[in-house]
Structure formats: structure tokens, C-alpha cells
């Protein structure tokens, strides 16, 4: 008796039915975990510096904005140095590790900056970061 070999063709397939679920899960994860910056700030052109460093812990950062006319805002409120001192003192109490990022326009007079620095000293907010852009290319 002769045996007839039955040829079975097996096709391997990668199941892709759940790809859409995975992708939507990723979208939902990013939508939930993203924190949007609600602070608008002022329109400033930051100065450039070669030794620009990144601030690692963003949650400690509080920004002070200063345009070229010397107008200063904190949390989108127009403030003077006395108000900066009181606002920052509260922030230091909340988080002693607070880092103040001074987003000042490159054309502002240094006098306005020094007033803010004195206010920060009054508030004991001593960690300051002069916001700059990374300077690209050589030359000074």
C-alpha cells in the first residue's frame, strides 16, 4: 500500500490586530502625561552664550520675564522688584530648591536686571539662571 504524503503548507503571520490598540494607548499616555506650559511670558530675544547649560530639574524652575523696555512679569503678571521679592519668597517657602530663570531680552539695560537680582536676594532665592541661547559657530 502506497502512502500518499499530504503536503501541508503553513504560513506564519504576525498578528497585527492589536497594533491600533497599542498606538492609541501610546497617544493616550502622552496626552495624559504631557504638561503644557500655560505661562505666556513676554516677547524676548535671549542673548547667546557658548557656555549655556541645561537645567536638569524643570519642576524647580520659575521664570521671570523681562522685555527690552524693562517690563517684568512673573506668572504673566506685570510686577515691580518689591512684588518680585514677595512672590519669590513664597515660592522659596514652597520649594527651597527653586531655580529662578531670568528670561531677559538682550537689549535691556543691566540696571533692571540688577534690581531683580537684589529682589531675589531679599527673597533668598539664590539660585539664578540667566536664560541664554546656545551660541552656534565661532567668533565673539
Amino acid at each position: 500500500m502506497k502512502r500518499i504524503a499530504v503536503r501541508r503548507e503553513t504560513q506564519s503571520e504576525i498578528p497585527t490586530a492589536s497594533t491600533a490598540d497599542i498606538a492609541f494607548l501610546l497617544i493616550i499616555f502622552f496626552m495624559v502625561s504631557t504638561v503644557f506650559s500655560t505661562e505666556q511670558g513676554l516677547k524676548v530675544v535671549l542673548p547667546q552664550a557658548e557656555s549655556t547649560e541645561r537645567i536638569l530639574k524643570r519642576r524647580n524652575v520659575t521664570s521671570i520675564w523681562m522685555d527690552k523696555t524693562g517690563r517684568t512679569t512673573v506668572n504673566d503678571n506685570l510686577v515691580n522688584p518689591a512684588v518680585i521679592a514677595s512672590v519669590m519668597a513664597e515660592k522659596v517657602i514652597e520649594n527651597p530648591e527653586v531655580v529662578v530663570s531670568l528670561q531677559a531680552d538682550q537689549d535691556v539695560s543691566y540696571g533692571y536686571v540688577t534690581d531683580v537680582l537684589e529682589a531675589l536676594k531679599d527673597a533668598r532665592a539664590l539660585k539664578v539662571n540667566f536664560a541664554t541661547q546656545q551660541k552656534t559657530g565661532g567668533g565673539g
Binding site: T19, A20, S51, Y110, T114, K127, V128
Partner: protein, 156 residues
């Protein structure tokens, strides 16, 4: 008779919405947001301010004084340790600041650098000079207000 000849169509199931391309669409959305998102990164030049009233007296020969005047001109003053004579250097181009500071630091690594900027000086010049000080690996940098200008109520 005619009825029996008619071919039955369909399997009797409900209408289906094709979902095969759903994954492609979702990944397209992810790629779109990944390429168009701009992440806010806080960058800049760090400094730790001294506490109020924490002024420390440093002998003049241990200080390298870097001054920026209202016109944005830079001047470096160094006091000779032995003769106490002051050496003043006018800076023509900003990169010269780094050369001068590195030269002085190589003679005395304990030198403190006092950056004194006039209230009327452009902020960009202050940042340029401060950047040079950082690039020269100076460890002891302090921002000193110009005497007589403090609390003058706005830039002059």
C-alpha cells in the same frame, strides 16, 4: 422556481467597518505630534547669589576686577600682590576677556573675579563677559553692583 434559482448573497452577518488601517492612522498621528512638538528646555548661565549681609572682605590682590561701563566697554583691573600697583587692561574684543582671566588664573588659581556692570550697560554685554568668565573655568565669580548706582531707580 425563480426564487430558488436566486443565489443567496452574504453570510448573514452585519456590516463591518474596516479597521485594518487603524494602526497606520494612529502611528501617523504619533509621528505627526513627535515631529511638530517643541520641547521647552530651560537653558542658561547659572550663578548662586550670596545671601544679603554675607559680604566677605577679600584683599585687593586676590580680586580680578572686571568692569563694564555704560557704553559696554570692558576693563580688567589687577592688583600686583607685591607692589600693590594696579594693572589696567582695556579689552578690545570680548574673547580677550577669557585670555586675560585665564592668564591671571594660571598665576593665582585662588583669584576671585568680581564682575561689576554699570546699570546703563547692555545686558547682552554682561552676558558676553560672564560667558567668557565661565569659559575660562573661573570658580569664584561674583556680581558686584557699582557703588553710587545702587537703587538709583532705573538705568542711567
Amino acid at each position: 422556481m425563480a426564487l430558488s434559482l436566486r443565489k443567496k448573497r452574504g453570510t448573514g452577518g452585519g456590516p463591518n467597518i474596516p479597521t485594518a488601517s487603524m494602526g497606520d492612522i494612529a502611528f501617523l498621528i504619533i509621528i505627526f505630534f513627535m515631529t511638530t512638538s517643541i520641547f521647552a528646555r530651560d537653558k542658561g548661565l547659572k550663578i548662586v547669589l550670596p545671601e544679603k549681609g554675607e559680604d566677605t572682605k577679600v584683599p585687593p590682590e586676590m580680586i580680578l576686577q572686571v568692569d563694564v561701563n555704560q557704553g559696554g566697554n570692558v576693563l580688567i583691573t589687577f592688583t600686583e600682590p607685591v607692589t600693590k600697583a594696579k594693572q589696567v587692561t582695556f579689552i578690545k574684543t570680548i574673547p580677550e576677556v577669557r585670555e586675560q582671566v585665564m592668564m591671571r588664573l594660571s598665576q593665582n588659581p585662588q583669584l576671585a573675579i568680581s564682575l561689576r556692570v554699570s546699570r546703563g550697560a547692555p545686558y547682552s554685554t554682561m552676558i558676553d563677559v560672564f560667558d567668557q568668565l565661565k569659559l575660562s573655568n573661573a570658580q569664584r565669580i561674583s556680581l558686584t553692583p557699582v557703588k553710587g548706582e545702587e537703587g538709583a531707580g532705573g538705568p542711567q
